[in-house]
């Protein structure tokens, strides 16, 4: 049987009259790479922030890693990792200091911290940069670092909000290697993206239009349903009807 780690039921977020996320319902299973697609302004980030316990929903239900999104936000936070759209590690700390800090507040022991940071730095090939300020790293490396920090404490689910925006194709490829690695370790990956080639890498994807989920299936299933050759075309067909966006 599939093990459900995210389950939402008519989850809604209103900001005054504006409905950013409108009755979204879906399920995500353990170990899955779930692509969360949508045009700018479709409500992806809002939805993701609700799932992470950063933003309280206006109505609807959601269970994340077995915990209720209204009452047990702190338990949810213990079990997830999050990488926001905006780079949010400390620029004025070194690579190693950032790893130690975030590992430390997730409650890793000193021994674990030492082992994990060593492994992480080797995996990313950052041996030369370990003691340099994060501010001095190129964007691609920063993104890989923040992903690695987000999964340092072995969360059940990791939420990635446009993790590869502005990153070159080679680094993007490497970034996806990291994602696959994490998925192999049983981490569920919930990722938003604008790149349709990345959408193809996902096990299942949902496409949001104007705050609603308009399609949800495997990439192959979606292409068949819309009778098109590529994810690009699926996306255009759906997003063309969007009324909002920037």
């Amino acid at each position: 049987m599939k093990d459900t780690v995210i389950k939402t039921d008519k989850l809604t977020k209103r900001f005054g009259d504006f409905i950013a996320a409108n009755e979204i319902s879906f399920e995500v299973y353990r170990g899955e790479i779930f692509g969360f697609l949508g045009a700018n302004g479709a409500g992806k980030t809002t939805a993701m922030r609700m799932l992470c316990g950063l933003s309280a929903p206006s109505s609807g239900k959601a269970i994340i890693a077995g915990f209720d999104v209204y009452k047990q936000t702190e338990m949810i936070k213990r079990n997830i990792g999050y990488m926001s759209q905006k780079f949010s590690l400390y620029d004025d700390l070194t690579v190693l200091e950032n790893i130690h800090f975030f590992g430390g507040i997730y409650g890793l022991t000193d021994k674990q911290l030492e082992m994990k940071s060593k492994a992480l730095i080797e995996r990313l090939g950052l041996q030369q940069e370990a003691k340099k300020l994060v501010a001095s790293l190129p964007l691609g490396w920063k993104q890989k670092l923040s992903f690695s920090v987000a999964v340092l404490h072995d969360p059940k689910i990791v939420f990635l909000d446009e993790p590869t925006g502005g990153v070159d194709p080679v680094t993007r490829r490497q970034f996806w290697d990291l994602i696959y690695d994490a998925a192999d370790r049983g981490v569920t990956v919930f990722v938003t993206t604008h790149y349709m080639d990345e959408a193809e890498y996902c096990h299942r994807i949902s496409i949001m239009v104007d705050g609603r989920i308009e399609a949800l299936d495997t990439p192959k299933g979606l292409k068949q349903a819309f009778q098109v050759q590529s994810m690009d075309e699926v996306f255009y067909t759906l997003a063309r009807g969007a009324k909002r966006g920037d």
Partner: protein
């Protein structure tokens, strides 16, 4: 507890890494404390006086030289008519006009009585007030001297025989620096603590790092403590430097127990930092936080009792100053440093400041929201 360790490690690393801010925290108050007390005192000197001498007699000359020799006045006009002297006042070249009427000497000797006229430029209220009263007392003394000159033989003087001799306790030379330095130090501590703490969390909001913190299972009070403790330590460092400067430059050694002073500062810093953090949790940008803090700082400082005595403020202002932590600090600083007050004397101040600290920090923890 482990979480606190990691938070403190991070905060201290960030503080020590930003050398410019660190220098500003330490050096700026030191320089201000070295310079400001030299200029900020209540004593009024260099009062410009214009004298209209209609008598031009020995006595009027003697009066004028007494006035100019006092050291407080600068003779900027020696005019033939009041109109000329008034022109000087209009041009702001004279703060006071003393008019000596004609027949001054004659009346003094024969009639035993003479009226004189002082006109005061009241635009600068303090200067006008003090200048006027300095001048009156000089004239009074002059009058007494003349009585002695004129009636040396009689033995009975007609000047009042009751004289009040006052002694100034706790600051017997009325040294303004002794009075001002502890007050200025109090304000510097408040500013450093208030601004550092109010900008810090907001900065994390602006940069976006707070998001990464909010998505961790960190406890809210841990986060606030992690911000509070580093600034508390810095505040104590600045305070210690301030005490050293007061001792080395102004020779001020607290008469009371220095431990009492530190005990109060410990609690006081918590209240100021808590206030800063509370503002920080309300604001979205450093600019907002800065302006709000600035607003409160102005109120705190002007109603804090450093420049003007709280006892002579209107009732509503006195009521506000009851809620002003700065007024308690300034008062405790002066009590302990100048008067040698003990823990028992400052206990009410300490109690109220403790309540401020508790309330403000609890509010900061409550108002810091990990979920919006």
């Amino acid at each position: 507890m482990r979480t606190i360790r990691f938070l403190l490690q991070k905060e201290f690393r960030q503080i020590f890494r930003n050398k410019i801010i660190l220098a500003m925290i330490i050096v700026m108050p030191a320089i201000q404390l070295m310079i400001l007390p030299l200029a900020a005192d209540y004593e009024v000197k260099n009062i410009n006086i214009a004298i209209v001498d209609n008598d031009r007699s020995t006595y009027s000359q003697r009066l004028i030289s007494t006035i100019t020799a006092s050291g407080y006045f600068r003779l900027t006009g020696y005019n033939g008519s009041f109109k000329e002297a008034f022109q000087l006042m209009e041009q702001d070249d004279a703060d006071l006009i003393l008019e000596v009427p004609s027949g001054f000497e004659k009346n003094l000797i024969r009639e035993d009585e003479q009226k004189m006229f002082i006109a005061v430029n009241a635009i600068n209220g303090v200067k006008a007030n003090l200048g006027g009263s300095y001048l009156s007392s000089i004239v009074k003394n002059f009058n007494k001297d003349i009585r002695l000159d004129l009636m040396p033989a009689k033995g009975v003087l007609q000047t009042p025989t009751i004289e009040i001799v006052s002694t100034n306790w706790f600051n017997n030379l009325l040294n303004y620096r002794v009075f001002m330095v502890p007050g200025i130090l109090a304000i510097l501590i408040t500013m450093i603590g208030g601004f550092l703490s109010c900008l810090n969390i907001v900065k994390e909001k602006e940069v976006g790092t707070i998001e990464q913190i909010n998505v961790t299972p960190i406890k809210k009070y841990n986060f606030i403590l992690g911000k509070l403790i580093p600034f508390w330590v810095l505040g104590n460092v600045v305070f210690t430097i301030g005490l050293l400067i007061s001792w080395l430059i102004y020779g001020i050694i607290p008469i009371g127990n220095i431990g009492v002073l530190y005990a109060f500062i410990a609690v006081y810093l918590l209240s100021v930092l808590g206030f800063g953090l509370l503002i920080s949790t309300f604001c979205e940008t450093q600019q907002q936080a800065m302006f709000i803090m600035f607003f409160f700082m102005m109120v705190f400082i002007l109603l804090g009792g450093l420049f003007t005595s709280i006892d002579s403020m209107p009732m509503w202002a006195q009521a506000i100053s009851k809620l002003n932590p700065v007024s308690y600090l300034i008062s405790v600083m002066r009590m302990v440093i100048l008067k040698g007050s003990s823990m028992k004397d400052i206990l009410p101040h300490l109690g109220i400041t403790f309540v401020f600290a508790l309330v403000l920090n609890v509010l900061a923890v409550i108002n810091y929201k990990k979920t919006s």
